[in-house]
């Protein structure tokens, strides 16, 4: 039948012209994609460069440990750093239990129920709430109960938790969905009630992912300015009590140093940049810790 080696058309080597054209197209596309990638990265690197170069001069011991010195200006941002830690801490305490339990409801108990569909819808809406709206909500809430002049660290935390909770819910839900069903079945088959299965099998298996999700949510809210401007305000001293008095965080500090600089303008601006740099450093550290925790605790699921 095949007297001579008659290669079928499919396997014949492409002739010169079409091969050359295809190679050129390949290279052009690759170059375009790399270029697009570089362009996308430029703002990030430019930003980092700016913040580092302008923030470093202001970053000294005084900045990290001192507090502002009245109208004249000067001093440091210790109060803002402490404020950031306290406000973010309280926000996490509020958002994480609520968020994770909501995610557990949505994945384990929700099924096809109407409540689940409504919850998912509202969580999606909440992820898009502008942060100033969250701040005004907290302000109004506390004004109703405690009078309009009130300023509390706690108000800031409530505002931020409105922003943080939906993120925690979304990421936790995704992580819990990934836990394979056959693990739950293995637990049920041993005669384990459902809630124990969730606590002792599902949550430990999802642990690394849950922690990562929380850390990312924290990184999202640690630099929020608008909601805190209207709730916790601007203050000069260190305040560790979220239930009493104003509190300032790094983002608001950067804003206030820039808006109302002291007598030595440049020094104020330097401090604002240093605050921004500190914030970026905090976010980076959180992300790195999240990755490390994930790698250490993740479970290999076949």
């Amino acid at each position: 039948m095949h007297a001579q080696a008659d290669t079928p058309p499919l396997l014949a080597a492409p002739t010169g012209g079409s091969l050359w054209r295809r190679k050129l197209l390949n290279q052009a596309m690759t170059a375009l994609i790399v270029l697009a990638f570089v362009i996308a990265l430029i703002p990030l690197f430019s930003l980092l460069y700016q913040v580092v170069s302008r923030g470093l001069p202001g970053l000294d011991w005084e900045f990290l440990t001192g507090t502002p010195r009245g109208i004249v200006g000067g001093g440091g941002a210790a109060h803002a750093i402490v404020g950031t830690v306290v406000i973010t801490g309280v926000t996490t305490i509020i958002s994480v239990p609520v968020g994770i339990m909501a995610a557990i409801y949505l994945t384990e108990y929700g099924g096809k129920s109407r409540l689940r569909r409504w919850l998912t819808f509202f969580v999606d809406v909440m992820t898009g709430i502008p942060s100033i709206v969250a701040g005004l909500f907290a302000f109004a809430l506390f004004a109703i109960f405690l009078g309009p002049g009130i300023r509390l660290g706690l108000m800031g935390s409530v505002a931020l938790s409105v922003l943080m909770t939906p993120i925690v819910i979304r990421s936790s839900e995704e992580v819990l969905k990934i836990v394979p069903n056959h693990l739950r079945e293995a637990s049920y088959a041993l005669g384990t009630p459902k809630w124990r299965t969730i606590v002792k099998v599902v949550l430990p298996t999802a642990f690394a992912g849950l922690v990562t999700g929380v850390m990312i949510a924290v990184a999202r809210i640690v630099g929020e300015t608008a909601p805190l401007l209207v709730t916790t305000g601007i203050v000069d001293s260190i305040n560790t009590n979220p239930f009493e008095g104003r509190m300032q965080n790094l983002a608001v500090y950067a804003y206030s140093e820039y808006r109302t600089p002291g007598v030595m303008k440049q020094a104020s601006y330097d401090r604002a940049w240093a605050a921004a740099l500190t914030l970026i450093a905090i976010v980076m550290i959180l992300n790195v810790v999240a990755r490390l925790v994930y790698r250490r605790y993740r479970t290999e699921i076949k």
Partner: protein, 297 residues
């Protein structure tokens, strides 16, 4: 049950001492008999039909799974054998919309009666699944003890050690893992993982052991080891195993039940049940004869 691969046989016989029985369940589920009197229980089903919502998966099954023997459920894909098996330990109802009609009794007690706690039923009727599924966050030791710790039971360490060792010996896994009890359960081979799951299932001392195609994910050597193990376990438990593999049913079981579908979309039915030898050599139904001789399925 002959063990051809002598080299892979584990040495020790499982220890025969009786452990104190788990706490008695609330009536009417039968309480586990106290130590010394334990015997495997009979499962009896009458006119059992199983539904997923409106779709009927299984229709009118009457069969008895007798103690101290292995009952194999065979039949082509989709004929409802696994669905039926899962109804015996109340796992079927975990699927949303699933429904059970008919009567299923464990030693005469209706396991679907009002007031019966499905969690208690599952402690008495254990299950081993198709793919080995040890808990990935737990070590080998913790996996075997999972049935005891997950239920909130507080056992002294010495007691737990004893149960773990006894179960691992019973599953012919002790020698292979005794030096690595603290290592994760997922680090074992497929056959070892499945034996770990069997050890985990027998650690809670069920009366009945259900196995859903336990060897389908394993290689022939591991399969043989599991079949040997099943042959040994039947002296202490009632065992029902679903299998696609007819040769396995012929090798490892005493009684065989053949399920079949008339056509797709119709519910599966129990066609014939009888001693394994009879089913494979001279079955009474034509459909059974066709299936076991490989004409379909």
């Amino acid at each position: 049950m002959q063990g051809a691969a002598g080299a892979t046989r584990a040495e020790a016989e499982p220890t025969e001492q009786q452990m104190p029985a788990p706490q008695p369940a609330a009536a009417p589920v039968p309480t586990p008999a106290p130590a010394g009197e334990r015997r495997a229980k009979t499962i009896d089903t009458r006119e059992v039909s199983l539904f997923y919502g409106d779709f009927q998966a299984v229709e009118g099954v009457d069969l008895t799974i007798a103690p101290n023997e292995v009952t194999a459920l065979i039949g082509s894909s989709g004929c409802g054998k696994t669905t039926f098996l899962r109804s015996l330990n109340r796992m079927h109802e975990l699927t949303p919309g699933a429904r059970v009609e008919g009567r299923i009794t464990l030693d005469g007690h209706d396991i679907y009666a009002k007031g019966v706690d499905p969690v208690q039923v599952r402690r008495l009727v254990g299950m081993v699944f198709q793919s080995p599924n040890p808990f990935p966050t737990m070590s080998v030791y913790e996996n075997v003890a999972a049935g005891l710790t997950l239920n909130g039971g507080r056992m002294k360490k010495a007691e737990k050690d004893e149960v773990v060792e006894r179960s691992l010996r019973g599953a012919h896994l002790w020698n292979e893992v005794k030096d690595r009890l603290d290592k994760p359960g997922s680090g074992l081979s497929g056959g070892q993982q499945q034996r770990l799951c069997i050890a985990r299932a027998i650690a809670v001392e069920p009366e009945v052991l259900l196995m859903d195609e336990p060897c389908s994910a394993l290689d022939p050597v591991a399969t043989l080891a599991i079949e040997d193990l099943i042959g040994e376990l039947k002296s202490r438990y009632t065992i029902a195993i679903v299998t696609h593999n007819m040769q396995q049913a012929a090798r490892a079981s005493d009684v065989t039940a053949f399920f079949n579908l008339e056509q797709t979309g119709k519910p599966g039915r129990l066609v014939e049940i009888g001693p394994t030898e009879t089913i494979f050599t001279s079955p009474s139904e034509q459909a059974t004869e066709d299936y076991v001789s490989g004409r379909f399925g």
